[in-house]
Amino acid sequence: MPVKTVFKTSIEHISILDENGKFDEKLGKGLIPDKDLVKLYEHMVTCRHFDEVAFKLQRSGRMGTYPENRGQEATSLGAAYALRKTDWLVPCYRENAGLYWHGLPMEFVLLHWMGDERGNQIPDDVKMTPLAIPIGTQMLHATGLAWAAKYRGEDTIACTFFGDGASSEGDFHEAANFAANLDIPVIFFCQNNGWAISVPTKTQCSAPTLAQRGIAFGMDCIQIDGNDIFAVVKVVREAAERARKHKRPTFIEALTYRLGDHTTADDSRRYRDEAEVEVWIQRDPMIRLRKYMTDRKLWDDQKQKVAEENAKREVSATVKRAEEIADPEIKGFFDAMYAELPEELKRQRDTMRTSSIGQDPNQIESPLHAH
């Protein structure tokens, strides 16, 4: 046949709890038990407060550059909720909510942005990799981690988070391609928040959806309302099942929005309309969830007040822990370089305060003994 169709596909968009609080019973029923829902919402309250406090820490000079998470809580949190504690989360830097849920002590994130590597010294029992500063590079590590699990016959999987911007990097393509072709159980979770710093999503991907990135690899792809935690939980569960059972990766595009600036070093008024922000404020994942819970009598103002008070207590204790940690060992950046330090590094470490390191101290001390 001279013209034949050899491939056909489509991308579905899923939304369960929409921005007006309207809930689709058919898709959403039984997805998240009420008890858990309340916990997830309370967790969001804490994370939102954490975010505000972190912002203020930066503004008052107590912390370095910080990327606000505000507005994107539902994505990583829904994913972490849908996954197992033994699964790997491989984050970028806007996934605090999911990471805390997964077990990361909150002060780690503060320490990290305070310029302290101990914020990356992830406890053994928390299955996550450190925050990723270089964009688009961590997805390959996720693929490797999941591959290792498969190699060992475990049913552990990995879920990696990244932005719309990150999906332009070659490393994303390679990670997805390895996963698809070598049957590696990894979920590619793209948080399309409309912007990569000042660059709008259409410069990263002029196609109608980002979800279709995954078609290139023959992967299951789906687009969801990323501010709808129900949709997140649903598709991550399905993706996890696909990964665990069939060792097949999935590409998820979650439509969301960062309500704050890119980081505290950014001023988003330079490049985006206030009106756009206004629209998205209405789509805040927390507003609709609170409304839904309130409608269902799971929540009320009193509970909100308690949640906020708890959040304050927890966050201020977290800040305290981060700020009270002893100064890092000055030699720490030497000692962790290798399992065993080469001689030259030992010498540099041991003389870092006493010599210029420009010279072998022995030679300096006794140059004339030489000849």
Binding site: I133, S168, G170, A196, S198, Y271, S355, I357
Partner: protein, 322 residues
């Protein structure tokens, strides 16, 4: 004459070159409406439009690889990579392609691109925002590598770089982007690539540095009270061996200061060249005051890493005591 910061001097050079030559186009991440994360391209998008100041997808290899194509077609692209730590993904296009195109086609194609990259530590930034990879690119034949240490030099060197028919990496020491101002002529002027600058003349020691470290050297020299000849390399490759050698022949002692890790840093090359050219003039072994052979630590400790006036001062003491 205007009193400009380094950022402003670069901005001015870009404007003037773009006015003069419509083959000059800028591309990179956030360089458009946002004016660059350091505001180096502030106002250029508004002035020259979206065709000449292009926000690209977030992909460094893509930025350099397409710049190579643009340059092969005769344009003069000036790509920006947002931080030196993100040069990594572009390494292959820079070193395997931009650097080799002229020689592998025996001149049929050339790649007159000028890559602008902020570099170096000291601004309390997150990881991979504080490195000094200049030695990597100096070891790659086919590239030129430039790093100004002052607003005046920044303008003149950048104009030379853009006009140069070969690929140039123009490192911008971000620590001194706004650290001080300097008189910078309004008119266009060039500073030749490959020529060092003698910042202060001196008799006892030759001190060689580049980028933000030059300022540390000046402080250390002042504190030492000694007569030290400070050479600002300006161009990392090709190295101005002549200026260095002439100075060392006079002083007999050399101290090299750079932020990059000591092992395999450019200090090694300079020390070796000095030895090759004026071995018998040397009164003491050449000192390299450099970053440690470690990863630049996160910012709580970055001041421990960066060679500062204190460490340079120690080197001055040590080398004069020798």
């Amino acid at each position: 004459m205007a009193n400009l910061t380094l950022v402003q001097a670069i901005n001015l050079a870009l404007i003037q070159e773009m006015e003069d030559d419509d083959r000059v186009i800028l591309l990179g991440q956030d360089i458009g409406i946002n004016g660059g994360v350091f505001r180096v391209t502030e106002g250029l998008f508004q002035r020259f439009g979206a065709d000449r100041v292009v926000d690209t997808p977030l992909a460094e290899s893509g930025i350099i690889g397409t710049s190579i194509g643009l340059a092969m077609a005769g344009l003069r692209p000036v790509p920006e990579i947002q931080f030196e730590g993100f040069l990594g993904p572009a390494y292959d296009q820079l070193c395997s392609h931009a650097a080799r195109m002229r020689v592998r086609t025996r001149g049929a194609f050339t790649v007159p691109l000028t890559l602008r990259v902020p570099c170096g530590g000291g601004i309390h930034a997150p990881e991979l925002h504080s490195d000094s990879p200049e030695a990597i690119y100096a070891h790659q034949p086919g590239l030129k590598v430039v790093m100004p240490a002052s607003p005046y030099d920044a303008k003149g060197l950048l104009i030379s770089a853009i006009r140069d028919p070969d690929p140039v990496i123009f490192f911008e020491p971000k620590r001194i982007y706004r650290a001080f101002r300097e008189e910078v002529p309004e008119d266009e002027y060039t500073i030749p690539l490959g020529k060092a600058r003698i910042v202060t003349e001196g008799e006892e020691i030759t001190m060689i540095s580049w980028g933000a470290s030059v300022i540390e050297c000046m402080n250390a020299i002042e504190a030492s009270g000694r007569s030290i000849e400070l050479v600002d390399l300006r161009t990392i490759y090709p190295i101005d061996t002549e200026t260095i050698v002439n100075s060392v022949k006079k002083t007999g002692r050399a101290v090299i200061v750079h932020e990059a890790p000591k092992t395999g840093g450019l200090g090694a090359e300079i020390a070796s060249r000095i030895m090759e050219h004026c071995f018998l003039y040397l009164e003491a072994p050449i000192q390299r005051v450099a970053g440690f052979d470690t990863i630049m630590p996160y910012y709580k400790l970055e001041h421990e890493y960066l060679p500062d006036a204190t460490r340079i001062g120690k080197a001055i003491e040590e080398i004069t005591a020798y």
